[in-house]
Symmetry: C2
Subunit: 210 residues, 2 copies
Amino acid sequence: MRLVGDLRARARIRDAAVGRFAVDGFGATVRAVAADASVSPGLVMHHFGSKAGLRRECDEHVLALIREAKADRIGQVASGASLLETFASVDEFAPLVGYILRSMQEGGAAGREFVEHMVADAQVYTAEAVAAGVARPSQDEAARVRYLVLSSLGALLLSVTLDPPDDPRDLAATVRRFFDESSGPMLELFTDGFLTTDHMLDEYRQPRTT
Amino acid sequence: MRLVGDLRARARIRDAAVGRFAVDGFGATVRAVAADASVSPGLVMHHFGSKAGLRRECDEHVLALIREAKADRIGQVASGASLLETFASVDEFAPLVGYILRSMQEGGAAGREFVEHMVADAQVYTAEAVAAGVARPSQDEAARVRYLVLSSLGALLLSVTLDPPDDPRDLAATVRRFFDESSGPMLELFTDGFLTTDHMLDEYRQPRTT
DNA sequence: GTCTATATAATGATAGAC
DNA sequence: GTCTATCATTATATAGAC
């Protein structure tokens, strides 16, 4: 079957590209991707037109997979970072996590969209948590959620970037280590806070009232 | 004076490189640096041996300047992120902030060292704050400080990376915008916390006691 | 010290055979 | 659809004149 063969080659190249980009970053060469997919560099260009075209399809494919996986576990996910932790430990999804981390690192379209989706999701979960009395209400819900997601994902990204695994295939272990080290402090910070009192906070609450 | 002329050219190239790397990332070419310094590409190689050599000297120079500047304002700095905010608003230091952000983004040696220094500093400040009764004590001071620094710097980095200024010279404005948006949520989170109670936290406090 | 000219290597992309 | 061969560009780095 000619069409099936075609689709399978395309998919193989795309999957190889996702893995390569995850491991080496987006500076990875078309040649390396072709080698991983056991095809010629020319075939990559034939199917995707350009490296940018390949990148675009990888972005879309990864985002689609993540959206799909999120739908399967709706309600179970509280923060973007813990989603990535869960994903990283599933072999099948590990390359996706690497790809998304690279995308956040580089500032690409996929990274931005992923973060924005995470913020949107967290907004819903937080509202539910507040309604359930599990989370405290905030002076500015939108700003709080945004900072929580940005800081959680940013801490993970920075941790992985500054201290990457020797073998990039061990990304899952690195992600897990980060969570082992930070889940304690996070819980403590989120429950007790960090400061005792702060005059600036009073001002934040009652701007120019007193 | 031959020696003075030499040193001035070296310094000019190095400063140009810091600025270029800050704006374009470390993929910036030797040619671009040479053009910014108004010298030939050959002269850059003559002075620094290789692009890697140039990079090394930039790393050392930036770290030295930051160490120096930190010494000048000892005790005034609570977190790494607010240090960068202060720096970014001073025109003279703006390229340094860009350089450090790029270095954290790429995972280079300078980024790692900068973060580690920030963690070490924050450890001292936090201990003082706890002693003064301004900050709550923690179950694991080292882990808490590390997470606070990593999340603050990570949130800033991610924010700047995902939504960079149109003109890279407007980095200061972007950094300031991030702080305007997140200082409120940070203060609230740090003072009140986020969750009401959490069973997992009890376990964290008294592991296998009950 | 500084420049011009060039060597060398790698990359994205194209052309055409099969 | 797939490959081989090649082009054009771009990068670091070198050599040697001034």
